[in-house]
Symmetry: C5
Subunit: 267 residues, 5 copies
Amino acid sequence: MKSRTMIIRTLSIVLALGSVTLYVQQPHAADREKLLSDPGIYATFAAFKLDPEWWKLDKGVRDTAAAAVKEVVRKHNEQIAIDTYLLRGLSEYADVLIRVHATDMLYNQAFLVDLMGTTFGAHLMNTSTFNGMTKKANYVPNFPDETKAALKTPVDPGAKPYIIVIPIRKDAAWWLLNPEARTRLMKEHTDAAIPYLKTVKRKLYHSNGLDDFDFITYFETDHLADFNNLILALQQVKENQHNRRFGNPTLLGTVHSLDEILEVFTR
Amino acid sequence: MKSRTMIIRTLSIVLALGSVTLYVQQPHAADREKLLSDPGIYATFAAFKLDPEWWKLDKGVRDTAAAAVKEVVRKHNEQIAIDTYLLRGLSEYADVLIRVHATDMLYNQAFLVDLMGTTFGAHLMNTSTFNGMTKKANYVPNFPDETKAALKTPVDPGAKPYIIVIPIRKDAAWWLLNPEARTRLMKEHTDAAIPYLKTVKRKLYHSNGLDDFDFITYFETDHLADFNNLILALQQVKENQHNRRFGNPTLLGTVHSLDEILEVFTR
Amino acid sequence: MKSRTMIIRTLSIVLALGSVTLYVQQPHAADREKLLSDPGIYATFAAFKLDPEWWKLDKGVRDTAAAAVKEVVRKHNEQIAIDTYLLRGLSEYADVLIRVHATDMLYNQAFLVDLMGTTFGAHLMNTSTFNGMTKKANYVPNFPDETKAALKTPVDPGAKPYIIVIPIRKDAAWWLLNPEARTRLMKEHTDAAIPYLKTVKRKLYHSNGLDDFDFITYFETDHLADFNNLILALQQVKENQHNRRFGNPTLLGTVHSLDEILEVFTR
Amino acid sequence: MKSRTMIIRTLSIVLALGSVTLYVQQPHAADREKLLSDPGIYATFAAFKLDPEWWKLDKGVRDTAAAAVKEVVRKHNEQIAIDTYLLRGLSEYADVLIRVHATDMLYNQAFLVDLMGTTFGAHLMNTSTFNGMTKKANYVPNFPDETKAALKTPVDPGAKPYIIVIPIRKDAAWWLLNPEARTRLMKEHTDAAIPYLKTVKRKLYHSNGLDDFDFITYFETDHLADFNNLILALQQVKENQHNRRFGNPTLLGTVHSLDEILEVFTR
Amino acid sequence: MKSRTMIIRTLSIVLALGSVTLYVQQPHAADREKLLSDPGIYATFAAFKLDPEWWKLDKGVRDTAAAAVKEVVRKHNEQIAIDTYLLRGLSEYADVLIRVHATDMLYNQAFLVDLMGTTFGAHLMNTSTFNGMTKKANYVPNFPDETKAALKTPVDPGAKPYIIVIPIRKDAAWWLLNPEARTRLMKEHTDAAIPYLKTVKRKLYHSNGLDDFDFITYFETDHLADFNNLILALQQVKENQHNRRFGNPTLLGTVHSLDEILEVFTR
């Protein structure tokens, strides 16, 4: 990781000049695999609705606008991992969800500011933004070995077209429980989740102080019925009593490449 | 049901190309009766308000726009069951409600994305979307035989012009009750509902994790007074203490064909 | 009351054709007195704000638009009782409130859809809609004779320029009380209200399942101070502990004929 | 005070004709001092934000619009006491707050409807409106003599540029307390407030049933630090446990004449 | 500090005339260091979103607009300390946050009114405004010496690019605790915070009565992970049980000069 000072200077320059060439000078491209699996990574989920004005633009103008978005993505791809989802039709909250991972939140912001500065971006209404970071598993080290083993169940291969994002805030009583009590409750929570490990891929982000909730929970699945049963199982353990907020909004969408999403909006 | 992979590929193509011909190649048309009665079916309720700009369009433009909506419906009718309702006048939340059933949520999205991509759709503001799925009855198998028999009371024939949609979220205590306790409470709930089975048709969707509530309850009736008494009866059983959210919004509207609804908006 | 089937067919035709002549063929005009006093009547309260675009229209265009509203009202007056109120200046929620009574909710919708389809209606933003129905008094039959007698106190004659509309939702505990306990609490509630019967006219609508609350309470008065003291008295009885929602919004306005209200908006 | 019937007729004429000359015939001008100190007076606080379109108008158009506002104020000044405040910069809820006092709420409405009917008014978005009335002090008669004496402490002379408006709703338990218990709690509340009587001027409005809260509390001060300490002191007495709503919104602004405020918006 | 009367007169003139020269006559420029460290200072945090119309303006018009903003800042810099933050990309609530400190809230308002009166300002939608004031530390004087000493830990030097602003409202029970009990709880709170003093800079504002919460907490850091752990630690002490509101919104952004921010919006 580069020195902090350099990052900051870079951001300032990026923000001030919007220069494309700057990032080309970066020595190493972003390692997508590491960004998506390492602890200490910062994630931003930004959800957008397209304003009605967009649809009044000529097809040609919209095509040019889409090309500019792709250019912005190409430029930032070296620093960050970008995933895009289509929520339109399944959520009143957003048409598009963009998930960004980077070693520093500054990179997430630099990309999103650039994106929102394009012609397409000028028509995006930012309806929700969730910030969080990844950490090493908190309770797992104190779980019994068989639970640890079960948690290593590999996810079934194959496309997982559905994603669900649920922000969660625990109540004050939760945080006042001693670590042993929380571990016990999380063990019960984990046991309820294990049957679904094969078909529902999960990822957890910590948000305390970075946003108005404590966790962002992210799920990918090909089997919505399994996912529905997973959540039902998690509602039936005692830890669920400590969820002061669960969703609001719950974001349900489908995985699509940026090209596919832009195609939907430039038809 | 087609293989999952094929469905996904199809959706991507539909989304990317917006091709009409694709679906024509599907071997079997959607079986509306099965979609409306089977378990394991995915439903999306999408509510829309028309923006004020719509009314400034020429009658001719609006007529062409309406025709395009009908074409989109025709195209997707082979995959999904589409029902339309007029909420305008009875709800500040929406002018139109569209209920879609399919064997896969992807089909619901593909239709709604296509619909929202029409000229008419560009003027629709998506104010609420509810997602859920159907399941086999959960508590009925453990009910006494007379209750089971009573539940088979056929609904009176004839048009049921009114529909009501109420999302419900239970509290954490509900989900922590053991199955026997929940069955007992649901038996009491069911007994309260039985007198209204003839005049109020009910359908239940499970939403845990798919949206910000646990159930979508859907009702059709010709007798709003009976429906009002049904809800009153359901409020007077102990299970009602566990409803953390009931409505918000409650959507009341009337059943109308798409043609009738489009007629209202193109007059 | 006409047969249900006929009503439904009529609505469909009204919605589809917007024909004025249809209603002229109806044999009996709506009996306003009965609609305003009978049980089993359906009421819709629709509140609107005028959008800023309205004010940019020429005086002539606005005059023509107002005339069209009067025509729509004339057409539906045979089926429904329409009351209009000016909220502008006293409520941020709405400029105008329209209260409609009919033997069937379909008539309320048909009128409001027609109204919203006029040029004036295209500039009305529907900010709140409350649905309810009238019923026979629930607890009064079990009240002591002197309370029954007191409830027959006639309202003072004369104009009552102020109206207040307050939606109320009771808590689950209320509905679980046995009828005797509720009657006891309602007796105390009624005793608190009796001193205000002369100057504050009241009307109650039941909304369970028809909207996001249990009751719409409607008041007319010439003495706002009396009304304020009435509510204060009602807050000081135990039944008030069971009001989970009281207002939100509370709508305060003044009684005005449609002509007066349209005059305000076409000056 | 004129007869009620006359007032109503007058309002109808004012609303219908918008005639300026009508009010000139009123025999007595509004006594501002009495309106601001008497019990039984009705107050409306109307908060507005200017829409972005206003700023696109030519300076000349805005000047003419401002002159029309002044004319409306002049016309109604005979019936009502009008105070204006600038909230812009200190509150996201509103740019301008207008407080109106009259012997009848009808006058408040007539003025605000006239104001909102001007060119300037067409650009005002009404974000909050609070209605209340003044009453004789409720608990003071039962306070000990020394508390009564302390309450007569005169407010320091001099301009009080800051105003704060806080709506308050008590919980059900408060209203169920017997009068002695409430007097005891209000005595403690009053003792906490006495040290601030010199620098913070207070005025109380009763809103039960007239709006979605029980009280509007209004404060004027030259010393925001004193006001902050006053509220802190009031939070530390037991009566504060019964405040179910306190603010939401809290409106902080500065006292300015209408001319000054219009100057800000016509620069 | 100048006499109050003079300040008020000055504000009125500033508001009425918008004169630049007035401030030039002020004898002493604002001492930024003192404003940012003294007790008794008034702060306003104003958050803005740019409306979509801004982006339709020509680059030249936007450049001229940006220059006017800089001129307004220059003019007011003599009275107030202005800090600017970029929230765009990391918060759906705002694009820009402006923090202002002055010896009097009037100065904060005068600056923000001037800013909002520019062409750029006409496109700023004020989404949140927080008001507060600084005070001497409340509980520290009663802490043990070692805690006092620990609190003097100097913050690590170097840029702190991230800022987080969290408004907090305590519950009624908190304010009813006796000072000793509160000191005890705050001692525990402080102990939890001490490990983060080096990397997370904190500043506290008191808002009781000035806004809809009791405190504005402001943080600057270069290490978001440390900040996240700080909040996590603060959630695990008993004082956290008394936070009725924590965030809503939580504002996360980055420190940028006004020039950098304007550059982003004029590209």
